[in-house]
């Protein structure tokens, strides 16, 4: 395939206008010995051949009937209009809306996104998006250290292990120190030298933290330290108290649950929100409302750009340029589609269905619930024979839960189970049956 419109005649005409013999004359500035004959790649494909090849490749990935796997990436229902709207060429083939007058549609949409996210989280300011949850958290930490002019970060256990890994890299690169600690040990480490405390709730193991208590603790021992909350499935905000009601300074989340397909973990959506007082320190783009210069009509425009790399360069609040605009559009349309009652219902179903499974799994001999606090749509269960459980799931074509040894080698026989609104009573029964069969295969292995 080729997406070049010129025929040879046209090319010759154009070369004549330019005043060169042939196309290679245009590349004279390139040192001779740098020129290559060919990239040595296979020859191109026509569209039908391409689709065939790609379809075959896609089929090497297994697609399941239902899933009990979450751990930072979730299967929720995506209303059809989401894809329909983001596929409008005017949106998805446009660039960052630098020319406001020719980009009012997108600018207004981002403004509406900022509004709905700030209403959902009850935080004062939401930016136009970051890459994903993990990088949003890393940027939050860098922002906090900048605000506080301090370099030590406290990270509370239970943040997604991949997020923690990302933080580690950013801290190393940016010259920050971090301590990972149990929530119980927070008091020991808190001091006025701490830039920020970061925690996840519901955490990686699905547990909902007692945020009020945590915030109180921090404010007492380290009043000016920033408190950062991260979340991997914000559908829970249809049910749980929002960060804005909990005195959180920076709230970040992975927004993939809002109308974005899992697609192997990306692209997702980095939700980034802060208190008003940090407006000037927030990374990423912001859309603001303004008026015409020569009229009274209101419109939208990228604003407070002096924070950003293309103006502040090395002093910018972040290096981010391209973000995840189209994904924020998905999130916007998703939230509007399900609406208030819809989101509340979704959150309730996630919560009730997963707790239903949790309760009933515990009744099967050999299974033991490991999560102490209340859980949202994920929980940790100790299995008599985790590999058997996974085999049984595969047999009935349901995506098995996560073996925690994948991230924590010491957590033997522990599974992280996820249940969303998409898991019907039927599929839950199937899972319970699989769990039941699994105990009779092999002996009960010893946990940790």
């Amino acid at each position: 395939m080729e997406f070049i419109p010129h025929d040879d005649q046209t090319i010759i005409e154009m070369l004549r206008v330019i005043g060169v013999e042939n196309i290679n004359d245009l590349f004279r500035d390139i040192p001779k010995d740098l020129l290559i004959e060919s990239l040595g790649l296979p020859t191109g494909l026509s569209e039908p051949d391409l689709s065939k090849k790609m379809k075959q490749l896609s089929e090497l990935n297994h697609v399941y009937d239902s899933s009990f796997l979450g751990a930072g990436c979730y299967f929720h229902y995506i209303p059809s209009l989401v894809d329909f709207i983001i596929n409008r060429s005017e949106f998805y083939t446009s660039y960052t809306p630098y020319q406001a007058e020719a980009s009012q549609g997108y600018l207004q949409a981002i403004y509406e996104y900022q509004t709905i996210i700030s209403r959902l989280t009850k935080m004062d300011i939401a930016n136009a998006s970051m890459y994903d949850g993990s990088t949003a958290l890393a940027e939050a930490i860098i922002m906090a250290s900048g605000v506080r002019q301090k370099t030590t970060i406290l990270i509370i256990e239970g943040i997604h292990p991949e997020y923690i890994n990302v933080i580690k890299t950013y801290c190393w690169g940016h010259g920050l120190n971090y301590k990972i600690l149990r929530i119980e040990d927070l008091n020991l480490e808190l001091s006025d030298d701490i830039a920020a405390v970061a925690f996840q709730s519901p955490n990686f193991f699905g547990e909902i933290q007692n945020i009020e208590k945590l915030v109180e603790k921090v404010r007492l021992k380290s009043p000016s330290c920033l408190i950062i909350q991260v979340m991997t499935d914000p559908t829970c905000l249809g049910l749980l108290k929002p960060p804005g009601d909990l005195d959180i300074d920076i709230f970040v989340a992975e927004g993939q649950s809002f109308g974005i397909p899992p697609s192997f973990g990306g692209p997702g959506l980095g939700i980034f929100t802060v208190k008003q007082k940090y407006l000037r320190k927030i990374p990423g783009r912001l859309v603001g409302k303004t008026k015409e210069l020569f009229g009274d009509q209101e419109g939208f425009i990228l604003t407070l750009q002096a924070r950003e790399q293309h103006i502040r360069r090395e002093k910018a609040s972040s290096n981010i340029c391209t973000n995840q605009a189209l994904c924020s559009l998905s999130a916007l349309v998703y939230l509007l589609s399900v609406g208030k009652s819809g989101l509340e219902e979704i959150a309730k179903q996630n919560f009730l269905k997963s707790n239903f499974l949790k309760k009933n799994l515990a009744k099967i001999p050999g299974y033991e619930i490991k999560s102490k606090n209340p859980t949202y749509n994920e929980f940790v269960i100790k299995c008599p024979n985790i590999d058997a459980l996974i085999d049984e799931c595969e047999k009935v074509n349901i995506m098995p839960p996560l073996k925690l040894t994948y991230y924590y080698p010491e957590m033997k026989n522990l599974a992280l189970v996820c249940v969303t609104e998409l898991n019907s009573f039927e599929s839950i029964k199937v899972f319970l049956k699989a769990a039941n069969t699994a105990i009779n295969i092999g002996g009960v292995k010893d946990g940790f």
Binding site: I36, L50, L60, S89, F91, Q99, Y170, H310, A325
Partner: protein, 478 residues
């Protein structure tokens, strides 16, 4: 009295919409028993809006927006080329869209990522690639982390990065996030890196290396490129290639051969994935052999029994993003590359340069061309020769009136009143001619009716907006 835009929130109705909620098919238990009241949310201020209203609202907004599918999008350094529709279809195949990053039956996905890395290696002349970075700037940061690690491993304290003043703002910003300080290098009159200045800077000793865009933002291919990389290497430094402008040399020459040690690419520029109004993008990073073991996790290796994730290497910089990068974008770019093949890609390079030079020559009669030489994918005009105090901004706004998108303006910073024009290879001669006519017409208007340009745009859904008001009194939500 000014008219206010109609926001979606005004379409609210009383009736709750539950079209998208599966039936609750297990017996309701009361929440309170399992979830303490103090954990529960009191209120949720999200509107209920009928589906048809949502669709109408956003179709309406889409009409107030402009994309490549509407017409030429000549934004310099953004490579706004046509986005093949087939790639959208492919990315939505269930085997790509509905797979979980932690599922174990993922051979197709791993193969695609692995193959893509190999393809990009061939295209750029690098030995290893990571597909993890989510965008260009994220790629830059990854590349700089690799530099940092490389010197850390050698126990060398290299704290500075050389960046030409023509560079994209992301370069210094990324360097700063990675903890480097910046030495800015002033481009010489022909827009190239001044060799003597470079050598002088390198002699300082604590310089980690240089970040270069080549062809640079002036559309100039640095003819001294081999000398530049030689000097940097001579002093033990590394050379970083900002791939934002790779398009014009695609299939013609390769950063790897120019002597670069690290490159990042923008799949959403060079490899046709839609920019989506600002993202998502993807910024893979390629390195030379000796840097491969610094690449971020997860890193794929192929063995006789298939493709596996490399065991966490101690020298790796670690993770820079969760899961597998922006996989959905990688799928589209992969499809684009194998669809075009070696020949197709070379045509991309050739024609993008042809189109740019065609425009350059047609416009130089009326517009000031600060760097009057054969350009690559893009070239720069300025408002210097424009009569009646008409500025670059006026011209940009007026272009919108004629139904086209404007070039990148006031960038690079080193050219005052710059208009940076990059037509890309997918534009027809007709659309190039039309765009050219528009610019010539605008020049004439500047002579005859300058006030028209000062007030532009007038045919857009809204007139020129007050950026100052927006920044002084920020209103960022409803």
């Amino acid at each position: 009295m000014g008219s206010e835009p109609v926001l979606i929130f005004s379409k609210q109705v009383k009736k709750s919409q539950k079209n998208f909620i599966p039936k609750m098919d297990l017996e309701e238990v009361s929440l309170e028993n399992i979830l303490p009241k103090e954990y529960q949310r009191a209120d949720l201020n999200i509107p209920e809006i009928p589906e048809i209203e949502i669709v109408r609202h956003y179709i309406g907004l889409s009409k107030k927006n402009y994309g490549v599918d509407n017409g030429i999008y000549p934004l310099g350094s953004c490579t706004m080329k046509y986005n093949p529709k087939i790639n959208e279809v492919i990315a939505r195949l269930p085997g790509f869209a509905n797979i979980h990053p932690l599922q174990t039956k993922n051979e197709g996905a791993l193969t695609l990522i692995f193959e893509m890395a190999k393809l990009l290696g061939k295209i750029t002349g690098m030995d290893g690639f990571t597909m993890q970075p989510a965008a260009g700037a994220h790629g830059e940061l990854t590349g700089l982390f690799i530099m940092k690690k490389y010197f850390e491993n050698k126990n060398l304290n290299k704290t500075k990065i050389i960046i030409p003043d023509s560079a994209h703002g992301t370069n210094p910003a990324s360097a700063a996030i990675a903890g480097f300080s910046i030495i800015e290098l002033e481009s010489n009159e022909s827009g190239e890196v001044p060799i003597d200045q470079l050598e002088f800077a390198m002699e300082e000793g604590d310089v980690a290396g240089i970040m270069l865009t080549n062809p640079n933002t002036l559309g100039v291919f640095d003819s001294q490129i081999l000398e530049i990389t030689r000097i940097v290497h001579k002093y033990g430094g590394l050379c970083y290639y900002d791939g934002a402008n790779l398009n014009p040399v695609l299939g013609i020459c390769r950063p790897g051969d120019m002597g670069f040690d690290i490159v990042h690419l923008n799949l959403h520029k060079t490899f046709s994935t839609p920019h989506g109004g600002g993202g998502p993008g993807s910024g893979p990073v390629g390195v030379k052999e000796e840097l491969i073991h610094f690449l971020p996790e997860p890193c794929l290796i192929s063995t006789h029994s298939g493709i596996y994730c490399r065991e966490n290497s101690h020298t790796s910089i670690g993770y820079i993003k969760a899961f597998w990068g922006n996989f959905g974008i990688i799928v589209r770019a992969y499809a684009y590359i194998i669809a075009l093949g070696a020949e197709g890609l070379k045509r991309v390079g050739q024609i993008s340069v042809l189109n740019a030079n065609y425009l350059r020559v047609l416009l130089k009669s009326k517009y000031n061309l600060p760097y009057d030489r054969t350009c690559f994918h893009e070239f720069i005009l300025t408002d210097k020769k424009i009569p009646n105090g008409v500025t670059t901004e006026d011209i940009a706004k007026r272009i919108l009136d004629y139904g086209f998108y404007a070039p990148t303006i006031y960038f690079p910073l080193i050219v005052s009143g710059a208009m940076m024009i990059e037509p890309t290879e997918t534009e027809t001669k007709t659309s190039l001619d039309q765009f050219c006519d528009v610019l010539i017409t605008i020049y004439k208007e500047a002579e005859s009716t300058p006030e028209l340009l000062k007030k532009a745009p007038i045919n857009t859904p809204i007139g020129r907006l007050d950026a100052v008001l927006a920044a002084r009194k920020p209103v960022l939500k409803e």
